[in-house]
Amino acid sequence: MVPPTLSQRSPSPSQPSGKGEVGDLKSQLRQLAGSRAPGVDDSKRELFKKVISFMTIGIDVSSVFGEMVMCSATSDIVLKKMCYLYVGNYAKVNPDLALLTINFLQRDCKDEDPMIRGLALRSLCSLRVANLVEYLVGPLGSGLKDSNSYVRMVAVIGVLKLYHISASTCVDADFPLTLKHLMLNDSDTQVVANSLCALQEIWGSEAANSEEASREKEALISKPVIYYFLNRIKEFSEWAQCLVLDLVVKYFPSDSNEIFDIMNLLEDRLQHANGAVVLATIKVFLQLTLSMTDVHQQVYERIKAPLLTLVSSGSPEQSYAVLSHLHLLVMRAPYIFSSDYKHFYCQYNEPSYVKKLKLEMLTAVANESNTYEIVTELCEYAANVDIAIARESIRAVGKIALQQYDVNAIVDRLLQFLEMEKDYVTAEALVLVKDLLRKYPQWSHDCIAVVGNISSKNVQEPKAKAALIWMLGEYSRDMSDAPYILESLIENWDEENSAEVRLHLLTAVMKCFFKRPPETQKALGAALSAGLADFHQDVHDRALFYYRLLQHNVTIAERVVNPPKQAVSVFADTQSSEIKDRIFDEFNSLSVVYEKPSYMFTDREHRGPFEFSDELGNLSIGAESANDVPAHRVEANDKDLLLGTSEKEESVGASINGSAYTAPLYDTSSLSITTSQAQPGHSPHASLAIDDLLGLGLTAAPTSAITPSPPSLKLNSRAVLDPATFQQKWRQLPLSTTQEYSLTPQGTVALTAPQALIRHMQAQSIQCIASGGQPPNLKFFFFSQKAEEASTYLVECKINTSSAKAQINIKADDQRTTEEFSALFRSALSNFGIP
């Protein structure tokens, strides 16, 4: 059958896209609206069904809105439900018509049947029309107090819906506090679970503007709340259990006894058939034991079996999600899984996304005792009908060879691949042999003998060709016909499409020339002239460069192009350890499946339950320039945060002139210099002028009167802390002290540029790790270290420039010295803006 083309399709009668059908429906509905004939509900049902089926396939049936509402006056619950569904779908685009429904929905909210009350309330809250919110508050308020748990359950989610339509209406009605009460007292666990969901969302987004919400958000992970949930966990549905476990992850027990209590309590959750529950439990176990190396390792041992069982039960999709997490753990601690390698063997009928993960796991767990068997297995896959997997398998063998010491057997296997005479196998194997030679030059003899037999005509893939050419150049002394093979390749220069190959060809022929000049001279000349005429800029430039080098001095050219090489000991890892740690912190989320931290694939408001890392992720790094284009800001900041440690070190060093401070002296001269260098617009003179304009009487405040006497605590002026450690510490340490104080007017004015404060604090040996926010609300994260020991202070500093207030939260490794540090911090801050 020929599929109908688009033009034929739209007028076809079976595709009810025409207005005619909808028009028919409209008139039929109108006829039924007033009818009280017996069996009218059945005819209504049929019509409603039709409307909804149109809606499902994307036909706009909003024009029957009025008729649908007229027909909704019925006691038939099936009809009601269909009508609610319809109204929920179209109310947003028809706000005026939506008003029509308010009446009957409000009436239904007072129905005798709790089922109807709940349904009506749910639909009422799903209208998503901003100017109707006034009608929601009343029914929601009574819904939350309803005697029936179904209605309460619906009402709690209703509050959240209201919050998304109009946050202020929701907060003004004090609904969050009602939810909190329900969360802690309701007898129905689903009401409790829904309250928790709603409060997490509401307080999570309110926390940015309201101190109270921020405190409430913190209170969710306080000990009493956490214990309340933990003790009831088995009463919750499996889905709500996941929610509770996600909350528990954020809690930091005070000591190891508490940790063990929680783990013992949750132990049997690992035997749950629902993978989501098991993974959420595993996350709790892993996070709780981060600082207890032995126990952490035991956790790995304990979770192995449940994870493997989940991988092999359930649908392929479910096992993929679990396998991704197992993959992460295997990559983190391969030695723990090295005896389980057989579980990572591929099955022939598995989808390739599963096979790829397994191949990586096999590569990671290979060690002295199992390499032989793993490589044997991988070699079987190299003959696989699935070419992509065959390639991956060969690469895996290569990777194992590169990470092992005893590679004899593996080299033999790789060389056997070269003899298999399958073009893709040869291609992959060539690339590997090249990498192997870079690490183990001692194998050159054996490899060259085999590589020499490969006809370059059989190698077509650019990467493989480039590898072959590299070997020809590098080992031209041992390969008798290297110059001639290169020569024939150069003859076909114009047919070679890959610039990479041509670049390699230039370099190889140079190397060959230095080793065997008479035989290569002609080829070199041909290559250089072809290169100079090449349309590709890089190829052209390289040819010209070589040409000039040779003209200048052949010996120097050899030193440049063919210097003696050191064997590569470790090949660069593709992912930095910070990124890996961050993914691990986001265990049981999409980050694990994508193998990327959340900031790389999700915008900030959707990062899920990782609020703290969100905050850090959204804040900009201290050293960042203020001129960044806003659109690129988030991403650039995130990168800075992860990669900027070394840069920051430099900038710290630069501003401190190399001499370590022993006391927090206020070297105002150096401060103003750095400020004026970096921020010409904010030089002391300029700000003076502004201050004068504002009439703040800058000079009136004598410095000595404001500055408290410098405390005795000495800070390390070159303290270094990477963001990941900061995050981890911030979550683990308890809050030592919270203070709030006023800023000097000068300080407030100087804060128009956050950088100024960052530099100022840096000069006091208090380093900024991240900053952000929009005026008037600014937020900074600082850290400091003691001069003589590795004891760190972490500071969260929230400044509101309009009220000139600063709120300081301090966490410290060494609690005893918090007072001193906080005094020091205060004095440093109070000094800000005073030249």
């Binding site: 409603f48 909804i52 994307g58 099936v78 439900k81 269909m82 569904l85 779908n89 947003k92 749910r122 359950m153 989610i157 998304h164 689903q190 829904n194 969901c197 549905s237 499996e238 709500a240 035997q271 749950h272 058939a273 629902n274 993978g275 989501a276 993974l279 959420a280 079996a305 493997l308 069982t309 989940l310 092999s312 359930g314 649908s315 999709e317 479910q318 993929y320 679990v322 005896s339 057989k342 099955q347 022939y348 009928n349 598995e350 989808p351 390739s352 996304y353 009908v385 992509a388 989320s589 999409l590 694990v592 499946v593 959340s598 694939f601 999700t602 915008d603 990062r607 899920g608 990782f610």
Partner: protein
């Protein structure tokens, strides 16, 4: 938390579509389907169950030829969403009896009803078929079970005279029998999927059993159930020992599971003592217990492959399958597949005479030999001879260029692990109460491969 849920047919039509939070644009179903269909240009690679496209995360599971999809912008737990999708499919199946495109299309209003109660504003409310009963008012429109393809889930239990009441497992939990009252019965299925890899010399390289005790209850009034397993059942392996050194225990001795997990409703109070599980089965289908076993077992089939070159452009392949299980047992729907060298142009087959229901075919497109057998009785042996013609010389590489041989099959009333349900006790409501109890075993091949 999810934003949208929808079900697509194989052709990409929307069967149901529910937007819970309005955070993701409308055209996602189309975007999703195009992406899945053309994941890789060559069409060989399947789209992974989770992917991100322009900030939207798409999750999908395939059930009964349908795509169950969820979208969200939030960095959620992938396990949770995939588990949820699978569960939604199961709940729908519980209600409709049969889950396929036709039944879904006929009952889409009922499905919307379910979806409204299962998820509210993206948060899961309940996935319990039992709880949902009180919120759902549409009656399912039953699809004719007889018109199903022969390989429906119920068909695996049909075997000669021991035919199971095939309609029972495709019965809706809310449907009533013609007589008005529903029949009191309970099904317990022990389903084992086995994976075996034989080396080219016939030695077992790896073997694993992934088992499930599946229950489907149509009992009224939620009586408590006691399920007793083998008393010599052991769970967990003592540390230190390698996973595959249990050869000595073959044939007798304890059944040793590597690990297992249980459904929420299962209470394990007596499990340590007498290996009994207590539960009050909720309505609908659910796995009571999943287990995994690497203890060595006797593989039901042996596969022998012989390749002989016959001149430069010809070769002969001889495949022999031996059924190594009791003659009282019959395996069905057997399919043997073997990739042949790429330069194979033709294959002619010689089937053993006297065996009915055999087919042999050479799939030109992917150069694959396919041998289908309807039934094999335990203890018997079957041979296939195939004469191959090549378009180029094989250089003695035929073995390297072909294989491995893989096999799929179903063996009803047989389980390799020897795990057993010793008895199934139902708490009596009254003395005459004696519901039907069906305990059924089945072994299926998951990955059954012989290298050559």
């Amino acid at each position: 938390m999810i934003s949208q849920f929808f079900v697509l047919s194989q052709r990409g039509d929307n069967i149901v579509f529910r937007d819970y939070r309005g955070e993701v644009q409308k055209g996602t179903a189309e975007i999703f389907f195009r992406k899945v269909k053309f994941w890789k240009e060559d069409g060989h690679e399947e789209a992974p169950p989770v992917f991100n496209l322009d900030g939207v995360n798409y999750f999908h599971v395939k059930v009964a030829g349908l795509l169950f999809v969820a979208t969200t912008r939030v960095n959620v737990s992938p396990s949770l969403v995939l588990e949820l999708l699978q569960r939604i499919a199961r709940v729908i199946k519980d209600y409709l009896g049969i889950l396929n495109e036709e039944s879904l299309r006929k009952n889409f209003v009922l499905v919307y009803e379910l979806l409204d109660e299962v998820i509210d504003f993206g948060y899961v409310q309940t996935t319990s078929t039992e709880v949902l009963k009180s919120y759902v008012f549409n009656e399912p429109i039953v699809v004719d079970a007889a018109r199903l393809q022969p390989l429906n889930p119920a068909a695996i239990f049909m075997q000669g005279s021991k035919r199971m009441p095939g309609t029972a497992v495709t019965k809706s939990v809310v449907a009533t029998e013609p007589g008005g009252r529903s029949r009191e019965e309970i099904f317990v299925d022990i389903i084992e999927k086995i994976s075996v890899t034989f080396s080219s010399s016939g030695y077992i390289l790896t073997s694993e059993i992934d088992g499930t005790i599946q229950m489907k209850s149509y009992l009224s009034g939620n009586p408590e159930i006691r399920l007793a397993l083998n008393e010599d059942l052991n769970i967990g392996r003592s540390g230190g020992r390698s996973l595959y050194d249990y050869r000595s225990s073959t044939g007798s001795g304890a059944v040793i599971l590597d690990d297992c997990n249980f459904h929420e409703s299962v209470r394990l109070d007596n499990f340590e003592v007498d290996r009994t599980l207590n539960l009050v089965p909720p309505d609908g289908e659910f796995p009571v217990m999943n287990y995994r076993m690497t203890q060595e077992f006797k593989p039901p089939f042996r596969i022998n492959t012989l390749i002989e070159e016959a001149g430069t452009l010809k070769a002969e392949v001889i495949l022999k399958i031996s059924a190594e299980f009791p003659s009282s047992i019959t395996a069905n729907t057997i399919l043997v597949q073997m990739p042949l060298p790429k330069y194979t142009t033709r294959a002619t087959f010689e089937l053993e005479s006297g065996v009915i229901g055999q087919t042999a075919d050479f799939k030109e497109v992917n150069k694959r030999l396919e041998w289908g057998i309807k039934k094999i009785v335990g203890g018997s042996e079957l041979t296939l001879r195939a004469k191959l013609t090549f378009s180029q010389e094989s250089h003695g590489n035929i073995t390297k260029e072909s294989g491995p041989v893989s096999m799929t099959f179903t063996i009803p009333m047989y389980n390799v692990s020897r795990l057993q349900v010793k008895y199934l006790q139902i708490a009596k409501k009254f003395s005459a109460y004696n519901p039907y109890r069906w305990v059924r075993y089945v072994t299926q091949a998951n990955s059954y491969v012989a290298r050559i």
